[in-house]
Structures are given as structure tokens and as C-alpha cells.
Amino acid sequence: MSGSTDDKRREVRGYAIGYALALALTGAAFAAVRWPSFAGGTTLAIVFGLALVQVVVHFRFFLHVTLARSARDDLLLILFATLIVILMVSGTLVILFNLRQRMM
């Protein structure tokens, strides 16, 4: 039974770490916009960078996606979906930006 209690403590700690990291990253992103100390472009890059890190934190601590060997099917699915998203989004952007340019 002690193994199960150890498991539980480890899992609660995992969610707590993820929650704390998410709060810190969110706070940093909002603070960068609320009290701007850089040029607009730099602030935007900081916000997007923090968002990417936070997505990784959520995948790791809340969704438990790891690089462990036995989780590879899911990992492959997520990586494949990411590839599809990149292809579709970049295609959409090319077409729509082109359209906008011609219409404005």
C-alpha cells in the first residue's frame, strides 16, 4: 500500500509543479503587456515564446505526455498532428495573405 501512497504524493506534486509553472508563465506574459518595457515587436515575441513554453508545461505535467518509450504511439500521433497543423496553417496563411494583398 505504501507504493500507492508514494505514487499519489508524486502525482499531486506533479500537478502542483505544473500549476505553479503555468501561473508564473501566465503572470510573466500578462506583466510584459501590462507594463511594457520593450518595443511592441519584442513584447509580442516574448508573449509567444512564453505561450510555447507554457504549452509544453501543460503537455508534460497535466496531460502526462513524456518521451518515455511506451508512450510512443501517442507521441507519434501528436507529432503527426503538429505536422498537419503546420502544413494546413502555413498553406492557409499563404493563400489568405495573398488574397488580402490583392484586395487592399
Binding site: Y15, D73, M88
Partner: protein
């Protein structure tokens, strides 16, 4: 061996080995759904990015977004992910039913408050004349953000359904796997919201 990670998401492991085995293919199927949902959101984000300057003299992002409500909504959603995590752990380790239902209730409460705040934001925008039909920018905004809200609403209904299942059937294999699925769904919505507050609200508020 049974302790091994079988699928992404909270693994039942040694606390219920039979369901743990069964969960593998069922949760993989749910991941396929989540990834197809991610594709929809990604394309709406792309459309929003392109439509951003198309305000045709109407309301602009800078005039419509307020940083305080966006921040509060973010905190609420993050906290609800944590409370659902605690519910998952209570389910996995067979804690008393009221502990599980308590965490689920907390998650539901936070979800409902989030929806209320979001509706209030939309009502304020409508008051400013920011209707979906006003400009290309507003059409793309109201295609993207309320779709996330709709997902949260579905998640809230699902939480109620799951509470009823827990009370009716107890924690059998089917109910456990449903709770794991709902967990994936809820945490996934949080990730979509990260993209929304960064791409939509914060980008619109940068001066």
C-alpha cells in the same frame, strides 16, 4: 510491468490493472479526436491572424479587449485544470466518493464562472457595436473565441453527466475511462486557451 506508462494522460497503473490495460486503445482514440479538434482551432487562429487588420473603421482589438477580465479568466481556467487533476488522482487512488465529487464540483464551478465572465465580455463588446457581422476581424474573433467557450460548456455538461455516472454506477471500468477522457479534454481546452490569451487578447493589447 503493469506500472508502465501505457498512454498519454494519467495512467491508472497498479491501482486498477485491468482497466489500465483496457484504457490504452480507448484513450488513443480520444487523442485522435483531440488532435482533429486542434486542427480546427489552428485554422481559426490562422484566419484570425489574417483578418486582424480588416476592421473597416469599426471596433479594433485595442478598443475592445480589457486586460483584467482576460487575466482573471486565465487564472480560473488554470485553477480548474489543477482541480480536475486532483479529481483524477482521487479517482485513481480510490479515495472516498465525496472527495472525487468535491473536486469535480470545484472544477464545474470554475468552468461556470469562466463562462459567465466570457459572456459578460461578449455582452460588453455587443454594447460597443462589436457584432460578428461588423467586420472581417470581428467575424473571425467570434468564430474562434466562442468556439472555445462552447467546448468549455460541453465540458461542464460532461462533468454533470460524469457525476451522475459516478453516483449511479460507482467507479467501474467504464466510468473510470470516461473520467480519464474528460481529463484529457479539460486539460486540452486549457492549452487552447493559452493560445487564445496570447494570440488574441495579449497581441491585441500590445501598444
Amino acid at each position: 510491468m503493469s506500472d508502465a506508462v501505457k498512454h498519454a494522460g494519467l495512467n491508472l497503473g497498479a491501482t486498477d490493472e485491468e482497466t489500465h490495460e483496457q484504457a490504452e486503445s480507448e484513450l488513443f482514440g480520444f487523442w485522435v479526436f483531440l488532435m482533429s479538434d486542434a486542427v480546427i482551432f489552428a485554422l481559426l487562429f490562422a484566419t484570425y491572424g489574417v483578418m486582424l487588420p480588416a476592421t473597416v473603421g469599426g471596433p479594433t482589438p485595442a478598443s475592445e479587449y480589457k486586460i483584467a477580465p482576460a487575466f482573471v479568466e486565465t487564472l480560473i481556467l488554470l485553477t480548474s485544470s489543477f482541480t480536475y487533476g486532483m479529481a483524477s488522482i482521487a479517482m485513481k487512488h480510490g479515495e472516498p466518493r465525496r472527495v472525487l465529487l468535491g473536486w469535480m464540483g470545484a472544477t464545474l464551478g470554475l468552468g461556470v464562472v469562466f463562462l459567465g465572465l466570457e459572456l459578460h465580455d461578449f455582452a460588453t463588446m455587443f454594447g460597443d457595436g462589436a457584432w460578428p457581422s461588423r467586420s472581417g476581424y470581428l467575424s473571425s474573433f467570434f468564430a474562434l473565441v466562442p468556439l472555445h467557450g462552447l467546448h468549455v460548456l460541453v465540458g461542464c455538461v460532461w462533468l454533470v453527466v460524469m457525476a451522475a455516472q459516478v453516483l449511479t454506477f460507482g467507479l467501474d471500468a467504464r466510468v473510470k475511462i470516461n473520467l480519464l477522457r474528460l481529463g484529457l479534454f479539460w486539460h486540452f481546452l486549457d492549452i487552447v486557451w493559452i493560445a487564445i490569451f496570447s494570440v488574441v487578447y495579449l497581441q491585441g493589447l500590445i501598444r
